[in-house]
Subunit: 272 residues, 2 copies
């Protein structure tokens, strides 16, 4: 057990989006070391098939596993939606996705039982949020309305976060959410928190937004604590970042997502 | 020679965009057989580094080469911009990119010598159009103004081709082109012809748009003819499509780009 509590937490995403989850983890669990992998050579996952995303997810996971992680966080909604069963079956460490924690957070938040979910085409097509919400709500019941918003990822990556273009795009995708009894909206893609202000403006003040990063960090803490492998307090944690394309843009754009500078990121080749 | 004239023309792109080039080839050279590869598992190339795009381009090329192509068309501006030297060095068949034909077409078209180029971040960052235009113009001289338009690819892929959103995005990117003495604008990405109407509206009637698909087909014809390996007239050509992700979306979106249905596309794995 002692050795296990010293391993880092592994986190992967298709690119920079998962850094919002890493940020929540670093804030909630400041003694834990982390390894982050951004698969920037194959980004985005959200427009690709479940089959291809699962293949990439397994490669990412085995890269992190070789580096001694004690737990894997799939910090990408699309990969969580389609690859979690394959990852859990293949790995000898616990695997935490972002969808179950996000769904549970939405059910705690909703007053009227109307929950909206927005995400990439891959996430929405998978039906993973719908299933997770219905299972977790049980006999209490939940009405779920989902919508794929494919242009939000490029807008967030390009830093077009305010002004007429993102406002019009958000209106096109979200206008009818405020008319359908949805009082809680899950930001089912790690890029979307960057567009939070515009999204909130379009859906109106009666709709509460759920960002699954916080909820995921909470789930990780519970799991490590239950297994007795939380890092000892007072330990100086280490953090490392890996990417599959050249690191410059990841470090630059990623700092916006992480809320602090990324000191260095090492390029690795996972194509073989 | 006889055998060579029976091989198909190989064409690759990161996804569906290169189908605009294939369309021009099929119209200009109706007796030629073709093999098209869309690397949909790793699309897009335009936001990735030259290093990674070159690695992917070499894999795509060797897949097509194994199937007996007599000539390779790199129907992707980003790959043409960064990987053409590596491809030409590695392959035993002639390689034609879209940039040199597009640049030469622009020089024939311009009246005042002011040429604009729009493309992906990868294409623009490479400086390939600028170099090609300056070399081809020689002492005649040319003034080049370039601009990366990263949101045009997701807009075209999502089919948001008309209306307020693409108009606003185009204005943001292109407004100053009409004020800088540019009279000819190269659509330096195979996705952009789908947004031609909006682009034309924003840059105004005095700016002529150049789509390199036609010019590339012409270059291919010249090259095959000079080598004496044009397909014999009256031959019934065959056409085949390959993709690296599941074929459904490629066939659906691709028909818009090709201007006719894609009867079938075979999924192949190039990740090893």
């Amino acid at each position: 057990m002692r050795q296990e509590s010293h391993g880092p937490i592994g986190v992967f995403d298709s690119g920079v989006g998962g850094l919002t989850v890493l940020k929540a983890l670093m804030e909630r669990l400041p003694h834990e070391s982390t390894l982050y992998l951004g698969d920037t050579a194959r980004v985005p996952y959200g427009t690709k098939s479940g089959e291809v995303v699962t293949r990439y997810a397994l490669k990412n996971a085995s890269f992190l596993l070789e580096r001694g992680i004690k737990l894997l966080v799939v910090a990408c909604n699309t990969a969580s939606a389609v690859a979690l069963p394959a990852l859990s079956a293949a790995l000898r460490v616990p695997v935490v996705g972002v969808i179950a924690p996000g769904a549970r957070a939405a059910l705690r938040r909703t007053r009227g039982g109307g929950v909206g979910v927005i995400g990439t085409p891959g996430t929405i097509r998978s039906g993973a949020y719908q299933r997770e919400l219905e299972v977790a709500a049980g006999s209490g019941g939940v009405r779920v309305k989902t919508r794929a918003c494919p242009l939000f990822v490029p807008l967030a990556e390009e830093g077009w976060l305010a002004g007429e273009v993102p406002r019009l795009v958000a209106r096109e995708y979200l206008e009818d959410f405020s008319r359908t009894g949805v009082d809680t909206l899950v930001l089912g893609c790690t890029h979307y928190p960057l567009l939070k202000e515009i999204i909130a403006e379009v859906v109106g003040p009666r709709v509460s937004l759920v960002d699954s990063a916080e909820a995921t960090a909470e789930a990780v803490e519970e799991l490590l604590s239950a297994r007795g492998v939380l890092a000892p307090e007072g330990r100086e944690p280490t953090h490392a970042w890996f990417v599959t394309d050249v690191p410059e843009r990841f470090m630059e754009v990623g700092a916006r997502f992480l809320g602090r500078p990324i000191p260095t990121a090492e390029q690795v080749d996972l194509s073989f």
